[in-house]
Symmetry: none
Amino acid sequence: MTTSSIGLKPVRQIAAHELVLDQMRRSMETGQFSPGDRLPSERELAEILSVSRTVVRAAIAILEREGRILVRRGRGGGFIVQAPTYNSTETRRMMRQNREGVRDAFDYRVIVEGAASRLAAERRRTADLAELRELLTSMEAALLASFEEQTPMKVVEFQRLDSAFHLGVARAARNPSLYDAVEDARRKMWLPVGSVFGRLEKNANDRHGDVLAAIESQNGDLAEATMEAHINDTRSTLEAWLQR
Amino acid sequence: MTTSSIGLKPVRQIAAHELVLDQMRRSMETGQFSPGDRLPSERELAEILSVSRTVVRAAIAILEREGRILVRRGRGGGFIVQAPTYNSTETRRMMRQNREGVRDAFDYRVIVEGAASRLAAERRRTADLAELRELLTSMEAALLASFEEQTPMKVVEFQRLDSAFHLGVARAARNPSLYDAVEDARRKMWLPVGSVFGRLEKNANDRHGDVLAAIESQNGDLAEATMEAHINDTRSTLEAWLQR
Amino acid sequence: MTTSSIGLKPVRQIAAHELVLDQMRRSMETGQFSPGDRLPSERELAEILSVSRTVVRAAIAILEREGRILVRRGRGGGFIVQAPTYNSTETRRMMRQNREGVRDAFDYRVIVEGAASRLAAERRRTADLAELRELLTSMEAALLASFEEQTPMKVVEFQRLDSAFHLGVARAARNPSLYDAVEDARRKMWLPVGSVFGRLEKNANDRHGDVLAAIESQNGDLAEATMEAHINDTRSTLEAWLQR
Amino acid sequence: MTTSSIGLKPVRQIAAHELVLDQMRRSMETGQFSPGDRLPSERELAEILSVSRTVVRAAIAILEREGRILVRRGRGGGFIVQAPTYNSTETRRMMRQNREGVRDAFDYRVIVEGAASRLAAERRRTADLAELRELLTSMEAALLASFEEQTPMKVVEFQRLDSAFHLGVARAARNPSLYDAVEDARRKMWLPVGSVFGRLEKNANDRHGDVLAAIESQNGDLAEATMEAHINDTRSTLEAWLQR
DNA sequence: GTGGTCTAGACCACA
DNA sequence: GTGGTCTAGACCACT
């Protein structure tokens, strides 16, 4: 697709700090860190990512400039994750200009997450079920709370729990490549969409429940179909929103 | 899966010449270049890959040391692709030690190539069909020739045509992420397996024909099923060979 | 003046790369390097400034961002000094808003350069005279050339030679503090003025000649008076220009 | 002078606590604090100097080690300024080894303070005169008291008043650069000389009176000459003392 | 041989 | 114990 007729495409050496940046963005976008959380310290990040502090700093500097994190100095300081400043109007405009990309991203999600769901149904262990059920409960509670308080559930909290569930399913499928593909697919779709779904998918959890039930019953076909339906629901919601 | 609980995994910066090396290996492995062929000149490669000649030289030097290419100097010289020296026994030993990896790779192929086949059936255009049919014919001819001459079809030629067909299907699916995933999946599986299939899959083309027919008939379910069957056949063949 | 009643004022730790930046700006502004010149290499600069390359790079990065230098990579590369983009109108506007600062800067120049000229007259050695005379000749030649060719002498070339002469006088005064003061004074005045004087002070060299003659004759009073007159001429020229 | 031919000299980054140390030494040396006085609290100093307490502590620790201040703990404690333990013999030896530096420092003082005095004569306002006259009176009284009591006027008190007068003149000159230069010049000369002048310049005030008179009469030439004479007197006194 | 990047370690200022 | 900065040295890619 991107290769020349000769099968060689330009290589681009990626600086270490860009790789680190990717990692950090990704872990924030998939909700591993929520606003207000403190990232690990520079030294820890360097350790985890097996790079030098210099490289971590380069990435951090960019995130700070973007306003994604706040740097606090001194003892007790650190890097504080900031809420991303989503801009619905802007997002909508961008997505409208990229209809095809959105469609492709969803198609891809349907494929890899559907397959993951099927495999999860076939391979899930008790521990997987327990984990997924717990995530379901957390989300239920969070949604409930957000309704009662009349305060919409925070977008990022939703994102975090949603991602956790989908990635949990992918993990239960026990195929590393597939897991990576799911992560990748979510990432591709998620980035500009965060603003939208926090307010729209109040009933997302019902679908999650269906998926979990199918996985529990070890019915691969059903698990796949349910997951596909869930993702296509999301797609419809998004497209309706884009039409408005 | 490979990520820590915190979603961060070590980054590894890849030297430009390694990326180039990857590209070149890949294009030789997928048969873009056959033994005896001359690679583009250093300058051309540098241009195509958008790196400096230094980097190309570094990659070339490694390939030469490995015996994958022969460097001929002077006028009329260049880089001549050598036949890879596959070692069946070694390959078999390695794959036996990595049963799980092999299984995962095939599972992943089934998923992404199956999906690609389905989408291709739904979205294929006339030009796609023409292209795929041509590839089919070429392979037919090549196989026939190789039988008549009683010389086994050259491994790399088979590889080249096989890859071209599968990637052609993926291209017809018109989803960039999926195409990349297919490429990635083939790459994961292909590398050590080249030695095996040149001699075993004499009837591979029948399956290809079935896939193409399904795609042509725009029957998504059938296309998916046929592709899955084809890949699972390959899997069986490989596993039988590993048992021996 | 700037101290509190208690004699303590806030301290500001100056980062090494800022100090380096100052040094480099200063040496470019006083014409040590002209547009098109290549700065010493990173490694040499680090050596000369006795800092690490990292620090040099930090300063260089800022200069590059400002467009003051151009970075060329590879063998034969380096940092190429760019012509500063003076903007007469802008300069005039700024200077009009800072009349007092301009007056103070000239007053200060008159004091320190006048004193330097006097001391130079009293202390000059043969070598000093030779050096100053040579600078005079160079400037003469440069001015002449610029007239004959009908191309105005390049601003920076003028700056360079002018600075060299004045600093040469200060050096002949043999008082380190005074030399620093002269450098400082010129720096304070010079920065935004470069654009103006290249075209206006065509006869600057006559004054320089007078100063040199007074120094040569060891007449301190005359040397001081001549230098003061020269600087006040410049001041008048500038103020006339500001009036326009 | 100190620059290489290329106009770049080594940079030295100065630690914040050294800057603080400088400030504190300076304010004690110019008599802002007299022996027995209590410095502001650590917190206040940190505030005034806009650094953290850590830095203040580092500076304080050094001053304590040198015996310049006494640290008293607990309620009513604080940092108590101690009388500097000047050592005439030592000072004399050091200055003899640095004859040239002393000469340069005085030359520089003559230049900048002479010019400051001239400008002050030309620009002084009534308030300036009042301030200077008051300082004169204070010094008169202090000197008188010290004679009557047969106790030599405390060195630091002299220093304080002397500095105040000279800086007052510089302030009246209304040129910030020049004021800084005067401060700088005094600082360069003052540091090692404190021990000497407390006992020697009993008649310093007469000169101050002359300077003030000249400034008052708006006679720039006279004001400059008087100040120069005063400084050169001091120089003579010092040189005589060094000869002994 | 140039600039570009990274590493490992250190010291500092901050809170 | 945190981030901020610097050092010294290395390897790499570029031209």
